[in-house]
Amino acid sequence: MEKLLKIDRRIIFIFVALAVTIPLLFRFKMSVPPTRHVISMYDKIDSLSKDSHVLISFDYDPSSKEELQPMARALLHHCFKKDIKVIGMTLYPAGTGLADKAITEIGDEYGKRSGIDYVFLGFKAGSSLVILNMGEDIYTAFQKDFYGKKTAGMKALKGVSSLRDIDYAVNLTAGGIYEAWIVYGREKYNFDLGVGCTAVMGPEMYPFIQAKQLMGFLGGLKGAAEYETLVGHKDRAAAGMAPQSVVHVLVVCFILFGNFIYFTTGRKK
């Protein structure tokens, strides 16, 4: 019995692998009721009028793609459905490929054109400095878009000269850049900001939500699935809810089982 406490971790890994693959093979649907922070982001974008500007900063790389890309796609569906102009950018060098793919794919679905209905500004080095620079003048921070087109005079940026003119900004992040967006962006240039982040970072957002520094928050794959439900376009995130649920239950079972053995054997010694 005691040996079970020192079980080879690879056995645990096998259980986790099975818990992920079996629900993926035998798909079963689960309802995903939206929570208040997701609803508040949805409501904010939904309240914007046609031709408003939403900035999405795709601050993640391929490793966080599975959690954050579905969020990006759901947000883009919502924006394009409402004819909102999307300004995409990234502060991660490896974020360009994912961001470009998401914007062009979803944009094509709605017949949107680059430079007119949306613009993807690409990557710029400097993290918080880029945000500060955009707060003063978006055209000096990004003189050209990802495809090399001049940003000055671009229809998708009409009426926008700095971050102050953005109607809503969403930072999809896998790292600490969201703090820079709050401190150097939202606090300094007064625009509404929402954050979508990996599940492991989720608890970090609560102080900012309560302080009303964040308007809307999507946490992990579940946040993305909730947004997909609200937009009415269930996709990869909703499909991922079944394996995620099973793995969570498995981890709970592991904890309970570990404690059971601990109490029946280990603790006595």
Partner: protein, 399 residues
Amino acid sequence: MIKLFITFVFSILILSCTSTAFAMGGGKSEFQAFDTPNDSGKSITLRWPSSPGESDHVEYVVYASTTKNGPFETEALRIKSNDMYEEGSDSSYHLAVVETDKLFNKEASDNGSSIEYFFKLVKVSNLDSTSIGVIASATPKGNWFNSSRLNNFIILIIFSILTLCCIKHAKKVPGLFIRKIKGLDAIDDALGRATEMGKPALFVHGLNDMDSISTIAAINILGRIALRVAEYDTPLKVSNIYPIVLSVSQEVVKESYLEAGRPDAYVEDNVFLAASEQFPYVVALSGIMTREKPAANFFVGYFYAESLILSETGAATGAIQIAATDAFTQLPFFITTCDYTLMGEELYAASAYLSREPLLLGSLRAQDIIKGVLIGVIIFGAILATCGVDFISSIFRPG
């Protein structure tokens, strides 16, 4: 000096109050235009009383001109009549900000700060349009102090003075008490173990760039560790994810070796850029830990999802592991897998603790005093707020 400071703060307070009072003054029923307070001088605020029958179907349009007699052809603002009410006016006034640099051509906006702008308010419904107010004018002016951030400024000044006073006091009265921080005491043991085993020590920077104070704190700790490592003659490997952090780390380690009188022992390649992305960084470091089996691992700075993978791999190789982070979501992972973990502000106290320099220790006392004051304010504010008095929250309102 103190008198001068009080006079300075007091005069700012008066100036900010007068400017706000001036801005909000004027007649009660008129269309007013005034320079927007606390801005760079590129906007004018318009204020006018609301009127009956405001709805989604009725709009307010404001036209602008640079001469009093017009023509008023440039549309400066168009809003629904039931929108943009002044905060705290109980919907009896509208308040809108017009950015003057976007109104006219570039030449006019280049001289924007000296131009007087004239505005004409028109109420438009489906049937007719009515000019409802007299023409108002204002000249935008840049402000040299943002009075809405006065509270923040005062707190900054008080904190700075307190910190400097505590440092000065610590200089006079050395031997300040500082509680034991086991994780920092264990650094010497960890380095000693690495020396005995003839294995390197690995210093892993967090995932934030040089603009993060946690990275600067990590660099401070690195400086202290590098000095000891140089004395012990143990190889120290320092991994980085950002090139600027890399440059600074190289310089810090090199200087430490120089100071220890061992410049020959410094190997440039030991302070390296492992990768520039989060998980490639993890893979590179896991590879180093598995292949080279460092005897001591230091995880210092701000970490994200990679914390558990790094520390779990390190634990599997049998290294002594010390983590120091202010990333509270990662603390449980480090506590579970590392031998010692410095939590939150301990990261910032580490440099003072390791050096025992009175000047640095003095700042810790200032931190404690400020924390005590904040605890008092929070408790007092919570009691007042419970009684329905929001006095404290209005003092600390962000500008």
